[in-house]
């Protein structure tokens, strides 16, 4: 589903002395099937943005469109429940939201809310379990006996069992160890591709943004600061430094290399191996190829 924000502003506690503008005049367009990374510091408006995507909040002004669903200040779509069945949100530390007696019941909870038949739910659970990297033996266990990483996978399975078209991920790898982080991101990326999802990833990691996203949006103080392809946006060191963000390490290296050697190797999201090979060509006396 296409996602469009048109001049969206959102004010918390509007018309009170505590009124606080979290998003201001935000416009962007995410075509269906994209993998978008949203980057910004704490307080930049990321979480408020996400809450618009499945109608947890409606814009104070402006308009949000998700597929055929429109959200404005005056009207919430009648089919809010339908919207929520199509936009799955994995919040930060989703394992904190587990509550059922068994893994199976916890995964079933989401689809049950959307009146999906029991046979269908059982079928989906079977499908979703291997996708998130869990074993079927765990289904009868209490989710609270599992490790943190497994608990998070259960929570994610619950969102996937709704079969959303849009998957929103709010820092999905926070608190995992490096291997866990990589496995989790690879899992989302595979699902994104296999199921033609539209994926919105909120992250602090420039490395993840450059590796997985085809489009990045950088937020600062509730407004859009930059937007575009990762290789265009995430190479602008000066602009990023201004909002205390940094370019990915590979970009940093290429830029320092250029300063030192006066040779420009453009960043095209190439692999580290390819970077090494390009560098090799410029280093005199660098070995067998000379």
């Amino acid at each position: 589903m296409d996602i469009t924000f048109k001049n969206v502003s959102y004010i918390y506690q509007r018309n009170t002395p505590f009124a606080h503008k979290a998003i201001e005049d935000l416009s962007f367009h995410i075509p269906s099937g994209s993998f978008v990374a949203i980057i910004g510091h704490t307080g930049s408006g990321k979480s408020t943005l996400i809450q618009h995507l499945n109608g947890l909040v409606s814009p104070s002004s402006g308009e949000v469109t998700i597929g055929d669903y429109r959200l404005t200040d005056e009207k919430k779509p009648k089919q809010m429940k339908e919207l929520r069945s199509r936009v799955g949100v994995v919040f930060q530390y989703p394992e904190h939201q587990l509550f059922e007696e068994t893994v199976e019941k916890d995964i079933a909870f989401g689809p049950q809310n959307f009146d999906i038949s029991e046979t269908e739910i059982n079928k989906r659970i079977k499908e979703v379990i291997p996708k998130v990297g869990l074993q079927e033996e765990l289904l009868k266990r209490s989710p609270f006996e599992l490790s943190g990483g497994q608990m998070r996978r259960v929570a994610i399975a619950g969102v996937l069992a709704i079969k959303p078209d849009v998957l929103v991920l709010d820092e999905p790898t926070a608190g995992l160890d490096p291997r866990g982080q990589k496995e989790m991101m690879d899992m989302f990326y595979t699902m994104h591709q296999e199921e033609g999802l539209t994926t919105v990833l909120v992250t602090h990691s420039m490395e993840d943004a450059v590796k997985y996203a085809d489009h990045v949006i950088i937020l600062n103080n509730g407004t859009k600061y930059m937007e575009g392809k990762p290789e265009d946006v995430l190479t602008q060191q000066e602009a990023l430094n201004k909002v205390q963000l940094d370019v990915p390490e590979a970009v940093q290296f290429l830029q320092s290399f250029e300063k030192r050697f006066g040779v420009q190797i453009p960043f095209t999201r190439q692999s580290t191996k390819e970077i090494a090979q390009s560098v090799q060509r410029y280093i005199k006396g660098a070995g067998p190829h000379e």
């Binding site: 290296f253 030192r260 050697f261 090979q277 090799q280 280093i283 660098a286």
Partner: protein, 279 residues
């Protein structure tokens, strides 16, 4: 030669008799005024080590000596004065209604005189760059600011060891930078031992020594440079390797003979430049 401050002698720990060992026969030493990083996959025993160091947990086997005293029920109150700890979640460690109340809390518990408290609040909030927020309510602070206050609160009771147990994990990059800058200044100024438990490679690189945990055992103990040279092995135990180390490997494979194991991009570029200008 520096003095030993913390010593683990064949320490094993498990939560109950039915459960597997979380730490198995661990022995190591931490010196005065040393920065050591502890890394390892989730569940490798890192945080258990931290909790054993200030008597939040006690080992079933082996002994832990801190500042010449064995950690046990009788000594923990002395030891906790020496071992300050900052945890992962900035929202779980605030007790005061203002920043200065929070810093005062630990000192009040230990019966510091008021004049001394006032002095130390000022001194330690300045050390972490939070003096202007003395009267601010904690919920108005960012995650990084909260953690800096938490560090000031711990420093106020003049510990000899500061343990950061994934204290930057929940912060954004800006917050992480603030904390690492603060911590490195503080270590310099206060001459304390610093133990950072982390997955963040930037934090590991800054340490003098790294303790690598795997499945409850000490897997390795060496300088960051030596540790990151073992790329494949690190990956096998679920850990990450810095970009510079990966690039260095690829450069070697491409036929560039880099002899050192560079720890950061500057070192790598320097090596490349030397090679380049030699011919």
């Amino acid at each position: 030669m520096r003095n030993k401050f913390i010593e683990f002698r064949n320490v094993s720990f498990r939560y109950s008799d039915e459960e597997p060992w979380v730490l198995k026969n661990c022995s190591f030493e931490i010196y005065e005024n040393e920065w050591i990083a502890i890394i390892g996959h989730n569940g490798s025993g890192k945080s258990t080590i931290a909790k054993l160091m200030n008597g939040l947990l006690f080992p079933q086997e082996g002994e832990i000596i801190i500042n010449g005293q064995q950690v046990n029920e009788e000594t923990i109150w002395d030891i906790r004065r020496d071992v300050g700890m900052v945890f992962q979640n900035p929202d779980n460690q605030f007790v005061g209604t203002t920043v200065q109340d929070d810093v005062a809390f630990g000192m009040e518990n230990r019966g510091f005189p008021r004049a001394e408290m006032v002095k130390r609040i000022e001194q330690n909030l300045t050390a972490v760059g939070m003096q202007e927020y003395r009267l601010t309510e904690p919920h108005r602070l960012s995650g990084g600011q909260k953690q800096r206050v938490a560090i000031a609160s711990v420093l106020a009771i003049s510990p000899k060891v500061l343990i950061l147990d994934e204290a930057t994990a929940m912060l954004d990059p800006k917050g992480r930078m603030e904390i690492m800058r603060t911590v490195s200044n503080v270590q310099e100024e206060y001459k304390l031992s610093l133990i950072t438990i982390t997955h963040d490679l930037q934090e590991v690189v800054q340490a003098e020594r790294v303790l690598v945990m795997n499945k409850g055992e000490i897997w390795d103990e060496a300088t960051p440079r030596e540790i990151f040279a073992k790329k494949e092995a690190l990956r096998e135990i679920g850990l990450d390797v810095p970009f510079v180390a990966i690039l260095t490997d690829e450069l070697k494979q491409a036929g560039i003979s880099i002899t050192n194991e560079p720890l950061n991009q500057e070192e790598l570029l320097e090596d490349l430049w030397t090679l380049h200008s030699r011919t």
